[in-house]
């Protein structure tokens, strides 16, 4: 197996995320915007905000991840680069995984880094918990991006496939959303929830690249 194509796919996707304007800022704006709107919708009672804050951020994170996913394979399909990536001699699953990981790094990780700030807006106490939660948002976000990548690969040949990606990916987001939200409560099961969250992310990392590869082969066929 030749590792050079995989590394190049990673670097190319990383550059792509920032090329043609600050594309990676779009989900960041969407994430912040969604989080700012919620207090306006449900009122400013600190007790309520503190209770719903972490859950709202999980939902906002899931939706923000879908904002830019449409682009990761669609452009390659349209301009013929997909054909080249499929003929590098490296496994398509590794190429797809590297591209998706780069996309998470450019667009998903900044969301997790912004989360402590948004949590403060939801009346969370400024404590080390904010950083722990940011790490959990990063971990869960990785799963969101990989499942979203499967949706992106499946709809790569569909014009305006953004909505289709959402329909395919959102059901796959369920375990991550459940364990993610649970890991930030004090209820029963919250102790082990981060481990289940990590497990669901690992599952996504292990399975999604093969699903993406199959979908991309179909798109090229």
């Amino acid at each position: 197996m030749r590792p050079a194509p995989i590394l190049s796919a990673f670097q190319q996707a990383l550059g792509e995320a920032w090329a043609g304007g600050a594309g990676a800022l779009l989900p960041l704006g969407f994430f912040a915007g969604a989080a700012v709107l919620v207090p306006l919708g449900i009122g400013t009672d600190p007790q309520t905000l503190r209770a719903v804050g972490p859950g709202i951020l999980w939902v906002a994170l899931a939706l923000s991840s879908l904002v830019t996913l449409e682009r990761i394979f669609q452009a390659d399909t349209e301009d013929g680069a997909l054909d080249l990536w499929l003929q590098t001699g490296a496994p398509a699953s590794a190429i797809a995984g590297a591209k998706t990981f780069a996309h998470w790094l450019a667009a998903g990780l900044p969301l997790a880094l912004l989360s402590p700030l948004l949590a403060l807006m939801f009346q969370a106490e400024a404590s080390a918990d904010l950083l722990r939660n940011a790490a959990l948002y990063g971990l869960g976000g990785l799963a969101f991006y990989f499942w979203g990548g499967v949706g992106a690969a499946l709809s790569a040949t569909v014009r305006r496939g953004g909505l289709l990606i959402s329909l395919i990916a959102l059901p796959l987001y369920v375990p991550t959303a459940i364990f993610g939200a649970l890991s930030m409560t004090n209820g029963p099961g919250s102790e082990s929830a981060p481990l289940f969250l990590a497990a669901s992310t690992l599952f996504a990392l292990a399975v999604a690249p093969f699903a993406m590869a199959a979908a991309l082969r179909l798109a090229a066929d």
């Binding site: 050079a4 190049s8 090329a19 301009d79 013929g80 680069a81 054909d83 066929d221």
Partner: protein, 194 residues
């Protein structure tokens, strides 16, 4: 010397393909040995591109099988260029992806892309985009070249250049499969008419 060269670079037996409800072709068998060229002919919609994609392993045939003994280069209608890529960054990306240590400047010069080397593809002419994509063939020695209408959008000098590249490649023991609609400009070893 080319990597992975044996008696036959590429062979296919009994290829058949259906698109929609139409049989594109059946029973297509072919082979390409070192130094041989194969031209695919046929009218628009006859399935030249589809056959080439099958030979490249991009499309799965309805029947038959393809055996390739080495890596191949792919040059088709869609160049694989992003609007923000320049000839230099595009060739640099693929040189890196293939682990090739080719001198980019000399490849750019050979393709006549010295002047627009740092111009984003969205500002390049169709011919310059084609030349950029053709430059990939020079980044790494690969036994088989698969070319889909290689002359499209090229000027007379560009056609001459492609012809020279093909002849050099054949002389060094490589094989070429090309789908060409009009004049091929060279005498192919074999022809497949669809």
């Amino acid at each position: 010397m080319l990597r992975g060269v044996t008696e036959v670079l590429l062979s296919a037996t009994g290829l058949g393909m259906i698109r929609g409800e139409r049989v594109l072709f059946t029973g297509v068998s072919l082979s390409v040995a070192p130094g041989e060229s194969l031209v695919l002919r046929g009218s628009n919609g006859a399935g030249k591109t589809t056959l080439l994609r099958i030979l490249a392993g991009l499309t799965r045939p309805e029947a038959g099988e393809v055996v390739r003994t080495g890596l191949h280069h792919w040059f088709a209608h869609r160049e694989g260029l992003k609007p923000h890529e320049t000839p230099r960054t595009h060739l640099g990306l693929w040189a890196k992806a293939w682990g090739s240590d080719s001198d980019l400047d000399s490849v750019l010069a050979q393709m006549g892309l010295k002047r627009p080397a740092d111009v984003p593809a969205r500002y390049l002419s169709a011919g310059q985009r084609r030349r950029t994509a053709l430059g990939r063939l020079l980044l790494e020695k690969r036994p088989i070249w698969m070319l889909d209408e290689p002359y499209t959008a090229l000027d007379a000098e560009g056609r001459e250049l492609v012809l020279e590249l093909i002849e050099d490649h054949l002389k060094s023991g490589g094989g070429v499969v090309a789908a060409i609609h009009g004049e091929s400009g060279f005498v192919p070893t074999n022809e497949v008419v669809l």
